[in-house]
């Protein structure tokens, strides 16, 4: 009896330990999801490509920072869209500043390649008395495919970096508030292009430690191991494109997918064109025989063709 009671007590304790241990873990999980995929706009910025804060198009992210910090956000853009980023900075009091400073907004694609701004003011000089400064950048249209040598914007993650590039040394470290909004607008059917590729959405996981296979000996075994490894990763990243996957990526797939989809107004134009051609064809045909038909009694000729 006593043995059983001890066992029972031990199990109760065990369960209690389980619950107390599990509770914070569950809470953590909830916090994590709230912070990551919640619909609220982020209130913090990352400090590098790796730690960039995810931003959904249309959200207005805020961040409190120090002058001189490098603030990073990352947002997704699908093929056929034209991304636009706008940032507004609230500068410290004019009395605490010592001169004018140049603020700059840089946009990088998922391969960390700097993307030129087709329009907008990516860099602006704020005079000492200015309270705010606004910088913006509109990219070129995102393509669904490009030559490998090209620097064209492709579907995937886009990094936004906001920082001060030129300032009086005395102003370093003063507090600022930044607001960033990324938006995407559809380029329309005029720019609907063909081709498809896996989005440039970088994986956020530690690399597999380089094996001892750097020596050419035992190439065959390491070869197969490595190739299976890489094909695994490609498979999983492929599948994660479909269902969100378990490999962490820089950004989540947009609701409407990465591609521009099969639909574009090119279908309408082409179908209208076909209809017009058919009508014009019938019209042309009737023109050749139209004027004679009322005068002639027998009408059988048409059906003889």
């Amino acid at each position: 009896m006593r043995a059983l009671r001890t066992l029972g007590a031990a199990l109760t304790l065990c369960a209690a330990a389980w619950l107390t241990a599990a509770a914070p873990a569950a809470a953590d999980g909830k916090d994590g999801t709230d912070g990551k995929s919640g619909t609220e706009a982020p209130t913090e910025a990352g400090t590098s490509f790796r730690t960039a804060t995810e931003l959904k198009p249309g959200q207005r992210a805020t961040a409190a920072a120090s002058t001189g910090d490098y603030l990073y956000w990352v947002f997704p853009a699908a093929a056929g869209q034209v991304p636009e980023v706008e940032a507004e900075l609230k500068l410290p009091d004019a009395s605490s500043r010592h001169g004018s400073a140049t603020w700059q907004l840089d946009v990088y694609d998922g391969l960390r390649r700097h993307q030129p701004c087709a329009s907008g003011t990516p860099s602006r000089r704020a005079a000492q008395q200015d309270r705010t400064v606004t910088v913006s950048c509109t990219l070129r249209q995102v393509r669904s495919w490009s030559e490998r040598w090209a620097n064209d914007p492709l579907q995937g993650a886009y990094y936004v970096r906001l920082t001060v590039v030129d300032l009086p040394a005395e102003d370093l470290g003063l507090p600022i508030d930044a607001e960033v909004e990324a938006s995407v607008r559809d380029a329309g059917g005029a720019h609907a292009d063909g081709g498809d590729m896996t989005p440039l959405n970088p994986v956020l996981r530690a690399g597999t430690a380089p094996g001892t296979d750097s020596e050419p000996t035992g190439d065959a075994s390491s070869d197969s191991a490595d190739s299976s490894d890489s094909s695994d990763s490609s498979d999983s990243s492929d599948s994660s494109d479909d269902k969100g996957g378990d490999i962490p990526h820089a950004v989540a797939e947009p609701e409407d997918g990465w591609g521009s989809g099969w639909w574009s107004d090119r279908w309408v134009w082409t179908v209208i064109g076909a209809a017009l051609a058919a009508l014009a064809g019938v019209g042309g045909y009737t023109l050749t025989r139209g004027p004679r038909s009322p005068g002639r009694p027998q009408n059988g000729t048409g059906s003889d063709i």
């Binding site: 065990c14 490509f49 040598w149 956020l204 750097s214 492929d238």
Partner: protein, 422 residues
């Protein structure tokens, strides 16, 4: 009999305990954070100058204590926090003794709020400012485990000990591959303090903040501690690129870190099977004073030395990193062809240069992001599905249709005429 019973009881209890241990949740037992949970150490300057009354009419020390209390209350559960002081114990004039004065006030671990607050309350502004020593000590306190490491340095004066130079110490600690970030908070707007603290921050990829108000101090420390909790646990794998492709390490998909000296070229290798695409990005960080113009070049090269594709970027002025990337799709092959993975060499070089006074070692921090994904699908036509669009298209189709109709009509009439005449 009784002994036997007791034995049985003990055995059963032991069994239950064992089972309990075995089936306990993997995340963390109560009170023990996961081994890869982030670690933060607050390093507080308790030197004599902290007595100055210039933070909202209060002493710097009082402001720091109040901020610490607020931070301790707001520390997220998963963060392991420690506190280290510098200049807290030795009040004398002897430089040698004063420059050894850095003490671990509260060990890095899950915070017992009352205990930690009590420890902070005992602090009185006392001694010297051995920042370099304190940074080394803090790095030791944070050693072990896989999580991210962050030092938050709060000080009101530059290092009063000279050697080791705290900026060099910070760079050296960051180069140890432990992914250490030092964020600095200066309690004065003094030029020397600012230069030293921003140098420490720059050397480790951290941030520098000039503190003028009390609430600013606590909110900034809280933000930095929270940032530690939010930062992804996945830290890049350290790797060492070779001087030539034949000896380069093989990299799979993921993030890697390396160091590259001025004028150095580093090679890496990747295996890419037909039907796959290699993506490689590299960013080189500027962790010290460098000349104003710089660039980076990433090249994908066959083992034979033929260049496949390159990515390059150049810039000038203030920056944290310069980065570029490339993608190289390997065309799919027919069944009878060679399906083994191709080796692609990636060469990384940068054109940073630095004034002669700047230390060359360790090299500049490099972060590599490698990914191997499914191949792209080159379009058969530039336009989506080869569809057309626009008024010209409609005009051409209409005129074309009309011409075909006319032609057909005339053909029909001609045939009828021929048939009649026969």
């Amino acid at each position: 009999m009784i002994i036997k019973k007791r034995l049985a009881t003990g055995a059963l209890g032991l069994l239950a305990a064992l089972a309990c241990g075995l089936i306990s949740p993997p995340a963390a037992m109560a009170g023990e954070p996961a081994p890869d949970s982030p670690k933060v150490e607050l390093v507080l300057d308790v030197s004599g100058s902290m007595r100055a009354r210039d933070v909202d009419g209060d002493t710097r020390m009082a402001a720091a204590k109040q901020a610490f209390n607020e931070v301790l209350d707001a520390t997220p559960e998963e963060v392991r926090l420690g506190i280290r002081t510098l200049g807290a114990n030795y009040p004398g004039k002897d430089r040698k003794a004063g420059c050894q004065d850095s003490e671990r006030l509260y060990p890095v671990g899950q915070v017992d709020r009352t205990e930690a607050k009590a420890a902070v309350a005992t602090l009185r502004p006392t001694g010297w400012t051995p920042i370099g020593l304190a940074l080394r000590g803090a790095s030791k306190d944070l050693s072990g485990g896989e999580g991210t490491r962050r030092i938050v340095l709060i000080t009101d004066g530059e290092d009063s000990c000279g050697l080791p130079d705290p900026c060099d110490v910070a760079r050296e600690l960051a180069a140890q591959g432990t992914h250490l970030v030092v964020d600095t908070l200066g309690l004065t707007l003094d030029r020397k303090v600012r230069e030293q603290l921003s140098c420490i921050a720059e050397a480790t990829g951290g941030t520098y903040t000039a503190i003028q108000h009390r609430d600013q101090l606590s909110s900034r420390i809280k933000q930095l501690v929270r940032r530690s909790a939010d930062t992804p646990v996945e830290t890049p794998t350290p790797v060492r690129g070779a001087a030539q492709c034949a000896k380069a390490p093989y990299l799979g998909s993921g993030l890697y870190s390396d160091r590259e000296s001025f004028g150095e070229h580093r090679w890496y290798r990747m295996r890419v099977a037909p039907g796959q695409e290699l993506r490689a990005s590299a960013s080189v960080a500027m962790d010290r004073t460098v000349d104003p113009d710089y660039g980076v070049l990433v090249r994908a090269v066959t083992p034979g030395g033929r260049e496949l594709v390159r990515g390059s970027e150049a810039g000038s002025g203030r920056t944290d990193v310069i980065s570029s990337g490339l993608r190289y799709p390997v065309a799919d092959v027919d069944d009878d062809e060679d399906e083994t993975a191709r080796t692609v060499c990636v060469e990384l070089s940068q054109s940073f240069s630095a004034p002669a006074s700047v230390k060359r070692a360790p090299g500049l921090p490099v972060e590599l992001a490698v990914d191997v994904v499914g191949n792209d699908d080159p379009p058969a036509d530039v336009a989506a599905f080869g569809l057309g669009r626009g008024w010209v298209l409609l005009g051409v189709l209409t005129v074309g249709g009309l011409l075909v109709g006319l032609l057909w009509g005339w053909l029909a009439r001609w045939r009828v005429t021929v048939w009649r005449s026969n």
